[in-house]
Symmetry: C2
Subunit: 369 residues, 2 copies
């Protein structure tokens, strides 16, 4: 094997550049909060920079968000001739997951979603099988998350979106009720347990790397992994919908101190909270076969793998030690494996992954202005 | 001149096909409304199929939406070498207008927006001048509409979005307060006046046709129109932000019976309401120079022009005759020209444009399942 290892940046995603824009936009955005007074509304200021934005309107805490699928639909398109299925039912689930899994981090139950399906041309919508799968999968994910599908936008954007492709995103509105569920990290404390929720596979972050890898493999997406499944098929395992886990948690009377949806920055996201805390991880969840395959075939070291992929941990909840068992049981009741995998400590902001002898320092995750 | 006339479908936008998908999705979406009960929320059912979705959460009426800019950014990209400006400040205004102008139709004051900026690659975000214009224009439009910019999503989507391009959209949340402002057309009645609000130009609908036309013109976007302005420059005049008009209207104690944002279907949109009404238009607002130029150069007949472009009417308000003068004054106080331009009559669902001897019948606008 003569090819160099793949890294995430060579796969076309440069998070540093994107983060610069995010920070610039966040600064301008902050200056608009004063307008809420005109609507007898107030901002929950601490939600700025968090995964969803929260406003108090007439005593009701409303959270909102828009999130993008990313490039996972390209894998579905490539797999269709191989598998004979469109895969857009699970692609729909992925798209909704991107939004609702972020929305629940602030303690909001998602109430409604809007679909954003921007195709490269009107022709996209004439493929009946694909279209029916997309609609069916979208509705099924709404049913799992108990959200109302309120509408959407289905433009044809020749010249903006690639011919034959579709840009999929989801906007969602949620409510935090009762207000005590508002989860913005104020209560995060040294000693808190870190409970990780199982991922089903790559979810929808790291897909560019997966696509790059497929180009290298002699049989591409059809390459069989150790477990006999095609690589492309495994890449398409849909993202876990975490709202039912949070619902079960809340029903059990547990309100986490903080939660994190593990997405584009892998385990670096565990230090999403701005405070001075060290996140000491002592247990690694099982690595989904597709991620282990990617790590091996792309020759990622542990730093690259855990710094950009979820590696089996799709969501993290930070809560008092004496609530960890209840949280794990609640997750299990919602069909999701969970582990008490680490502990929050006072100290420099960093993620320490003890079993891998790996440290991510604060400068490796810059999300805020 | 040997080339055939341009029509909207030859410009790559086939609304009939898109509408089929919309209808299919609307049917599935309707089946998810029952989930609201789990959140102690209820749906304002009549908002389904309207321009924004309304839910009652704890006594607060929350409206939400996601809307796309379309392809207007491609005009900005093409004009930049000609004008020496990025134009992304006004492109930002257009994108926000697409969302908030729809949101106000249901009687909601927009409260927050989320930015959706999906680029073809991370390189897009390295163009500092363009990026600063986009951020500045976005903030300025938020200031005009008195909305808080809550956050956003800035993915790089190589393989989905064209290299060098960006897919711009806006998600917005609004509140209807007091509840009596809820505007879903229940009160629309024969005899109501139809007040049209001035458009600034093409807004962001019909842009594909404009781009197609530019390809035909010997000097493309640099072609001078009768008023001396470059065609591309005029195409980029930003969409009017209508929320300040509605704010002035509400402050004057006027609540329209129904309102319509005139977008992708031109004046056919005037029969957006599902009821059996004839919309008899007696007055034509002045046609913005850029639209007159397009009509002439693309040799559109009146049916094609008024059936796909706003032709000077960017927004329509249906209200009692005795409130028309107050509505027009309110619009003027917000800096927008308005005309009492027609009347609602009992009769078959159609738009009659008397000065043009033109009729659009109900089968020419199918938005609902």
């Amino acid at each position: 094997m003569t090819q160099p290892p793949l890294d995430y940046q060579s796969a076309g995603v440069d998070y540093h550049r994107i983060d610069q824009l995010k920070i610039r936009a966040q600064q301008a955005a902050r200056g608009t909060a004063r307008h809420l007074g005109a609507h007898a509304a107030t901002e929950i200021g601490a939600s700025r920079g968090e995964s969803a934005y929260v406003v108090d309107v007439g005593g009701v805490l409303v959270a909102s968000i828009v999130e993008c699928l990313g490039t996972k639909a390209l894998v579905a398109d490539a797999m269709r001739p191989i598998s004979g299925r469109t895969h857009y039912d699970t692609i729909a689930q992925d798209t909704i997951a991107m939004a609702v899994n972020d929305l629940v981090t602030v303690g909001a139950a998602p109430v409604s979603v809007h679909a954003y399906w921007a195709a490269g041309s009107s022709d996209w919508f004439n493929d009946v099988a694909r279209m029916e799968d997309l609609v069916r999968g979208w509705k099924a994910a709404c049913d799992v998350c108990e959200v109302s599908w309120g509408g959407g936008e289905t433009p044809a954007l020749a010249g903006v979106v690639q011919p034959g492709s579709i840009d999929l995103a989801c906007a969602s509105v949620g409510i935090i009720n009762p207000r005590e569920r508002l989860t913005l990290g104020h209560n995060l404390a040294a000693g808190d347990a870190i409970v990780l929720l199982a991922a089903s596979g790559i979810h929808a972050n790291g897909v560019s790397l997966g696509r790059k890898l497929a180009e290298r493999l002699p049989e591409g997406y059809a390459t069989r992994m150790g477990d006999g499944r095609a690589f492309g098929e495994a890449l398409l395992d849909p993202t876990v919908l975490y709202p039912p886990v949070l619902k079960a948690l809340w029903a059990a009377g547990v309100i986490p101190h903080y939660t994190v949806n593990v997405t584009g920055h892998g385990w670096r996201k565990l230090m999403r909270h701005p405070g001075d805390f060290t996140y000491r991880m002592q247990t690694l969840p099982p690595v989904p076969a597709v991620l282990a395959f990617m790590q091996g075939e792309a020759r990622l070291d542990a730093r690259e793998a855990y710094g950009s992929l979820n590696m089996g941990a799709g969501f993290a909840m930070f809560l008092p030690q004496n609530q960890a068992a209840a949280a794990i049981a609640a997750a299990r009741s919602a069909g999701v494996h969970a582990w008490n995998a680490g502990v929050v400590e006072a100290g420099p902001r960093q993620v320490v992954i003890e079993p891998l002898d790996l440290v991510f320092t604060a400068d490796e995750l810059q999300l805020r202005a």
